[in-house]
Symmetry: D2
Subunit: 428 residues, 4 copies
């Protein structure tokens, strides 16, 4: 995180802004639970995913642990055992309930967890009031961004849970089909040069977006839009999932082990393709950006298409020149759709689907995590993962930036992860 | 099952009796859910255990599948997909939702499952009315006994779930300590001879209790009561869990793999022993019968005590002469306790704890499962399991008989399973 | 073991006999290695199987550990570390090299292991000479029988290893086809009654054949001969491996997990069936007894054939009346074949294939293992296994008796295990 | 690979040189087998490692498959099934014997494999003679480098096998202790700038060293020498293996799963440290570079030492200026030792230990694998691995270059992998 505030007045105004953000974000989290039963919120469908109830509690635990307990004098924790129960992975904070057992907690009840949230909310208000003028707000601001990340996870984890039920329940009733056919693919050409990469603004950024530094980027071409389901279907129909020569060796093994034959949530019945969405099972929207593919599938698709995935430096050097707009969680659509107005430049760089890059998730030159347990936030995961860029239909709009680095292991498929292609500049 | 009814009048009276039993048993099942939240009822804590909600639905599925669908004309299933969702292991009925995924079903909700139960109840009443005089009631009666078995499983599965929570919730508030110190162990001697084994009455029995047949039983001694926690603690303190020579080879491997050092649910803190019960965590009741031990532990304990486990023929030849009374589920105590009045003969043969026998669970000579999918009830499990006898504090009293054969794999520990010793008749 | 020798003269003669047996058995073991390379003898193809070299060493380890070290004064072990390296499962003797890592021992070399055998042989001769008149010979005699068991394992383990090589090497060049067509199945009827079961002679028997006791056996019919490959093929062709209703639940799971579609070592190519034998791959001999089936397959076959497996008491009560003859290892045929002269009674009770019984492997009433580490020989395996009777084409003839109890887990298939059917006496 | 030869004369001379290299390399491979038994060469100690015999055959398979079969008219394969048996991972070539079952092949014997080698050698000589003037030699030259890689694997795989034996055999008798104490650590400073990275010479290079390209490298400091065992011991003694905050999250998990407490092959007995080497077990050489550490351990050590691992661009920009000399396989020492003459610059960049970099193994900008099955050589492994640089005491000297990129998964420890530190240029 990176907040450089010069004066007391600045700080005070900043605190007011953050408090408003706090209220807005906390209530947005709870709005996601509308229509969910206590059972929907309690179950864990795989070790990677967490119950909604756990997300609700853990995001509160963050504020309790990193803000209220150290900063608010006389603060009484809501429940002593929550310190351990809702710690995700912060070894520096102490013991943790095992990740794979988050779904065993029928107690505390959903109701109690909401009461926990209110307890934390009341105390945060009190803390802001009393500490307005001087408190360092970085850790608090990190908590807001942390909660937004969990908003997205609530949606993707719930989608996974619902997909495992033979009843195929729907979370929302909105309709989310692409409004129009997708235009043919265009390629945009960028010259070589030294690029400045990483965050350099006044607002918030994660530590993994720092330090800003230079990278030499060769000339390249970038696809004007993400790959669509129609295009991906051509890959499937061309035997994409049966041709080892298109795949990384580890990817081929994953495909074989898990018997992948299509993106996660796709189903073929009687020669027709369907996809499970947050609106239930429905016919595949061919014009929409393909999503729920792993890095391995994205990479194999790219090879098949005689292209490759962009590096994160390529992606960022383009994105940094563009307005951060697109279909985000606020749209309520909750599924990627085709863009209507496309213009000449690249589009859908933001929103709809996270775009896998070909860059391993590593620290930037000179990267240092912050001191203390909060330093475990990003740094200790810098291995065996790949960077994704741009946000998705489940990401809050206010959460995203051109320098934002998301990361997942190459086999992960339950996020809204899609594909944008790149290729050398001389290609055609 | 074994119901031999001669006349129409008999049959009609029998149906009335069964309908009363149906009402009583079905409502007893639901009474077990008092105080449980929807979350408590939805979660599966291990593949062996099932969510309470699943038990509620599956016992209704039984009546729907084996009684209403084939026997009640015009019956409309409550929900078409329940046929697959709540089938446990009846291959003959069709597809089954995987056992290990019973905890992924946030839908149907607990409320819907109760509605399902009412739907089935209403139709069972209708069916009994219209078919009173002629319908074969065996499958229906099996359903009643089936539901009673699941009543016990609701308790043991819930106990397991609660034990996995760091909050250690309690299911009931009753106090269940042993009322008095246990008397010293006495041994009762029985002469050799041919014994008649298996069911031969008019009422209900499972097919695995048939056919009645003769077995030659050598002279033996039987312990007058189950092994207590105090006695078992002496085994632990004598290095019982560290001495390979006391164990079967497979048992030793299990002990090592799972790092067993005491019965399931026992915990040592600051030199004191505690046990998790349905009433929460509490100090170990030393006078109570030890429970939640595997066959392997029971067998190792017996070897340490210079004794052995009884065969099921030995056990039955003694039990058949005794009244079927003891601490069962109806007592509400929900934990084994010491007996107060002990008398001269063996006691606590029934209730408190299931008693592991040294007999592998196999079919009796001439055993034949009934035809059709219901024949999968018992027969297909006759391998890799051991027989337990006598019922436990979680078994309904009306469910048990001297010939009743319960069975679990030798490593199972989450049932209320305990130890009664035997030894050759010349021992002292 | 059970050797009751009254006088010194008896003991002395007994020792001479045993020394001859020792020489004969030890050299028979080594004769099995003719034609094998050091590599053939070093590799372990699965945790259940052991390298030939390990068998050669372990059988010598037995004599070194249980005879020479305690009984021969001044005995120098061949190599100190062999005590641990070649201990199979005797916890009482001390540490053991892990079973699954027996194939990691390129050292000691095969040559060194043969030198080890000679060292032990020389010292055994010396021990017998010096101790002729008084030494208790039970443990020595057990060692002889132990070595014979490993002779059979050398053959079955090597067969498994060779079967895993795409080169399908052959161990011996003999031809072993059935000499004639098998006669149609006949059933022999036996009346009910009390039978004496277990060993009662003067010679050697394992402790698990004791004590002799009575069992009440109901009337039954026994198949006159083992099931043939032709008959088993009919089971396969009738969908035997696809019909869950024919299988025990655990058996069905094994079948699914390991994708069993035929006995181990059977292969179908271009509509023809082949089997891998110690003579290499060859066309299936339809008239020969089916072998390399698990208990699960035997049990499912029996159900399909409207029969069941015999109990070990049934089997023994018939076998005890018959001469112990048949195709054993000494014949050199090393594969089951059809019998030529069949007579009126049951035949092939001995040799050709081990016959799965429906009896779980448990101790007889009053069973006690002998004291000390040798007591681990049989007793600690009395769980999760089934009894097989009669010996196979890989068993030495002098090793077998009507009371002999072999045992393997129900999923084991790499022994020469086959099927003999039984059914109630009133069947036809 | 990269061979650009202009004229026929050049090509002819090149062929002569390559033939000499072929003879030298092939016989160097076989020299590694001196003193090994057939058993030593047959066994596979873990799926990552292969039997020596397999390496001997597979390297011949390479020449048979990629050179002789397509290029030598009338070539008769030595044995048809070897095509499948000794294919490592080339899907484009057809079926492969499973990697984890390479140790099941007692046949072909070691002798036959040597005959196979001679068959291939004879035919390669014939091919070179007849095709001298025109044949494209890239694939042949790749085969030479391929065989050198397997020379190193023969040593590391055999070391692993021997380490698993309680006998702790030694492969060679040479003594390999560090000749002198290691000097204190010095840091060398390098300025920022654009560096040319990748191969640009006339000789051979792997495709993953191409294309040569520019990278912007910030100023940095590089340790003058690798980390020693003495320094690493300080990390252990400071609780390095017990402090989660020093580790990447995945690394901590690996450490816990495998219970790492020291580098592979280290053993503590009675407060003294030993290490298993190719010369057997011996006291730890404190002055020697630490080796057999995973990337995770290297990375944790660096964090503890307030430093980091160098990127491969940093490493290469330094190494490219230096002579390629050091302790390689040719020295016969077969274990890393301290350097004697250290000079002012960095030393031991080459030889002794492979140095983990902080760079994920990915393709360089514009990377393209060559067409055909040979293209599977490097490209398909570009995920989930890290780059190591500089060669080790088991690498042939003629095999290494400053641009050489070795790669292993971050948990791999059985290679001679060590640690060189880097840090920002302003550090002190």
């Amino acid at each position: 995180m990176n907040s450089r505030l010069k004066t007391t007045h600045d700080q005070s105004r900043h605190a007011v802004v953050l408090l408003e953000a706090y209220r807005r974000i906390r209530s947005a989290t709870e709005a996601l639970c509308t229509g969910l039963s206590a059972e929907d919120c309690a179950i864990q469908s795989m070790p990677d995913a967490s119950p909604v109830k756990w997300h609700l509690a853990h995001t509160s635990w963050y504020f309790e642990t990193f803000v209220l307990t150290p900063e608010l004098s006389g603060y009484q924790p809501f429940q002593q055992q929550f310190k351990m129960l809702f710690n995700s992975y912060y070894v520096g904070v102490g013991d943790r309930h095992p990740r794979s057992e988050r779904g065993l907690l029928s107690r505390p009840s959903l109701e109690e967890v909401f009461a926990y949230r209110q307890h934390v909310d009341r105390n945060i208000e009190r803390w802001i009031e009393t500490r307005l003028s001087s408190a360092p707000m970085e850790v608090f601001e990190l908590g807001l961004n942390h909660e937004q990340q969990h908003q997205e996870l609530i949606l993707t984890d719930l989608k996974h849970l619902f997909s495992r039920s033979p009843l195929k329940p729907s979370y929302r009733k909105t309709s989310a089909n692409s409004p129009a056919a997708t235009r043919e693919m265009r390629w945009l050409t960028y010259p070589p040069g030294l690029s400045h990469i990483g965050w350099d603004g006044d607002g918030f950024a994660f530590d993994n977006e720092l330090p800003r530094h230079q990278q030499y980027v060769e000339g390249f071409q970038l696809a004007a839009r993400p790959v669509t389901c129609r295009e991906y279907l051509a890959f499937i129909d061309d035997g994409g999932y049966e041709r080892a020569e298109l795949w990384l060796s580890d990817g081929w093994e994953m495909r074989s082990l898990h018997r992948w034959t299509a993106p996660l949530y796709w189903e073929k019945k009687d020669e027709n393709w369907y996809e499970f969405t947050l609106m239930g099972l429905r016919a595949l929207d061919l014009d929409s950006p393909v999503c729920h593919v792993s890095f391995y599938e994205a990479e194999a698709y790219a090879r098949w298409a005689n292209a490759r995935l962009p590096t994160e430096a390529e992606w960022e050097s383009v994105a940094v020149e563009m307005p951060t707009k697109g279909h985000f969680a606020e749209s309520g659509i909750l599924h990627p759709i085709a863009a209507t107005d496309e213009g000449d430049g690249p589009h859908q760089m933001f929103g709809d689907v996270w775009e896998w890059t070909g860059s391993a998730y590593l620290g930037y030159p000179g990267y240092r995590p912050v001191a203390g347990a909060v330093g475990e936030y990003n740094g200790k995961f810098m291995v065996n993962q790949f960077v994704l860029r741009g946000g998705s239909c489940a990401t809050p709009w206010s959460h995203i930036r051109p320098t934002y680095r998301n990361f997942f292991p190459p086999h992960a498929r339950w996020q809204f992860s899609g594909i944008r292609l790149a290729r050398p500049s001389e290609s055609r």
